[in-house]
């Protein structure tokens, strides 16, 4: 699955993309960063509304490759910069977490 495919499936847009391919083989839906840190599988897509810098920090710790921000939430500049710096793909979708999860599952 490519980022383009993901963006298309979720009616969304790509805001930050690392060079090369992004390998993911799991997905995790959560808005509790402590929960993400403890339970998210590695090499996964995080589906969340948490649109701040801390999200990126947690992703680097939990080896999350892609962040899909739901509900069309605004992405603060520092979050975007951090995603680019850490090589984490950042996408945004107008869908809610439930529908974003279902669309992603349909892709896989």
């Amino acid at each position: 699955m490519t980022l383009q495919e993901l963006a298309a499936a979720c009616e969304g847009e790509i805001l930050a993309a690392p060079d090369g391919e992004v390998a993911v083989n799991a997905a995790y839906t959560s808005d509790l960063l402590s929960d993400v840190m403890g339970n998210a599988p590695p090499e996964s897509v995080l589906i969340t509304v948490q649109n701040h810098l801390n999200t990126i920090a947690v992703c680097t710790l939990a080896d999350i490759r892609v962040v899909l921000v739901c509900h069309g939430r605004d992405i603060p500049d520092d979050m975007l910069a951090a995603a680019r710096r850490e090589g984490i793909a950042l996408l945004r979708t107008p869908l809610d977490q439930f529908h974003a999860s279902c669309r992603l599952a349909a892709l896989a």
Binding site: D31, L32, L33, S34, N54
Partner: protein, 347 residues
């Protein structure tokens, strides 16, 4: 002990009365301290037994006999009325008491037809009518009698009190107390006014960082509105406002009060706290503005939506705050019970 006194005619009102067993017992009761054992009763009960007096619990419809009446008469009265003691009284003065035990002894001894005055118990512990019930309870504990005659200050027999009397009144008082607490919690005044408008006043304390109870007030307000068939859309808006304000107070203030007021077709949720105050009210009312720390956010709170959300769902919104003076937020709603389809504000 009682035996020797049984034949004595005790004449109250004379100098002897003071030395009489009755007088002595009554006086002794007043000065003797009850056992200072530990009391683990709930405060509400303790308050009750100290506040209520013996006169508040005693039976005043007294069945009494004079000294001439035969013991048999006492027996009949006891049986017919299901009581266990007959005071022997003349002219308002208490002379003694005939108990079931006395009747049994009379039957065994064959003197059931003799006058009460001759066989009554005169070694009596009596209570005074203005003693607290707490005292009376100690007496029941210590003396193991089923009942005590009650005298007033003038030494007139005014009643008789049994353990059952005390229990009955305590139960009644407790029920009333619970009903009162429930009403105070759910609404001091809840009803429908003359113009078919609902009126309610409910006050809920909100405790700082008390996450166990956070939101409870809002839940109750919603139930109150739902039970009174208030339009569901308005109910939801009010419930959301109440919840947001309640949580806001819980998370960001030092605690305060959430008040819910309904009158004249209008509802208001008022959150008043004594916290640090909001330095920049405008900032606080913007989406996403929050001073919550990471721990609070990790519990799912503090996304900074409380005040803006409240403003969004209410018909009128007012906030006044000053550093050091606390904050008062008022969210108002137009409200009607009848014809929900004609409800004022479109959602």
């Amino acid at each position: 002990m009682a035996q020797a006194l049984k034949d004595k005619q005790i004449a109250p009102g004379t100098a002897k009365a003071k030395d009489s067993v009755i007088g002595a017992a009554a006086n002794a009761g007043q000065t003797a301290e009850p056992d200072a054992g530990g009391d683990s009763s709930p405060l509400i009960l303790l308050e009750m037994v100290h506040r209520l007096k013996v006169r508040d619990v005693m039976s005043t419809e007294l069945l009494t006999l004079n000294r001439q009446a035969p013991m048999k008469r006492a027996q009949e009265l006891m049986r017919a009325n299901n009581i266990s003691g007959i005071p022997i009284r003349e002219g308002g003065r208490l002379y003694g008491l005939v108990s079931i035990d006395d009747i049994i002894r009379a039957l065994e001894g064959g003197y059931i037809n003799e006058p009460c005055g001759r066989h009554m118990t005169t070694h009596l512990i009596v209570l005074e009518d203005d003693m607290p019930v707490a005292f009376a309870l100690r007496y029941f504990d210590r003396y193991k009698y089923g009942r005590f005659p009650v005298l007033n200050r003038g030494r007139t027999l005014v009643g008789i009190v049994s353990q059952r009397d005390i229990n009955r009144v305590l139960l009644h008082e407790l029920t009333q107390e619970f009903e009162r607490l429930e009403r105070a919690h759910k609404g001091v005044n809840v009803g429908v006014g003359e113009d078919d408008h609902l009126y309610m006043l409910c006050e809920y304390p909100v405790v700082k960082l008390d996450f166990e109870n956070a939101g409870k007030a809002a839940n109750e307000i919603k139930i109150l509105l739902r039970d009174r068939n208030v339009d569901t859309r308005v109910t939801r808006r009010i419930a959301v406002a109440a919840y947001e304000l309640e949580l806001n107070m819980c998370v960001h203030s030092d605690g305060g009060t959430l008040t819910f007021l309904v009158s004249n077709g209008r509802a208001e949720v008022i959150a008043k706290d004594t916290g640090p105050g909001i330095p920049d009210v405008e900032w606080a009312c913007r989406d996403g503005s929050s001073t919550a720390n990471d721990w609070i956010r990790s519990l799912g709170f503090g996304a900074g939506m409380g005040l803006p959300n409240t403003k969004r769902v209410s018909d009128t919104f007012d906030i006044s705050s000053a550093p050091g003076k606390g904050t008062t937020v008022r969210a108002g709603f137009a409200l009607r019970l009848s014809n929900p389809e004609e409800e004022a504000k479109p959602s």
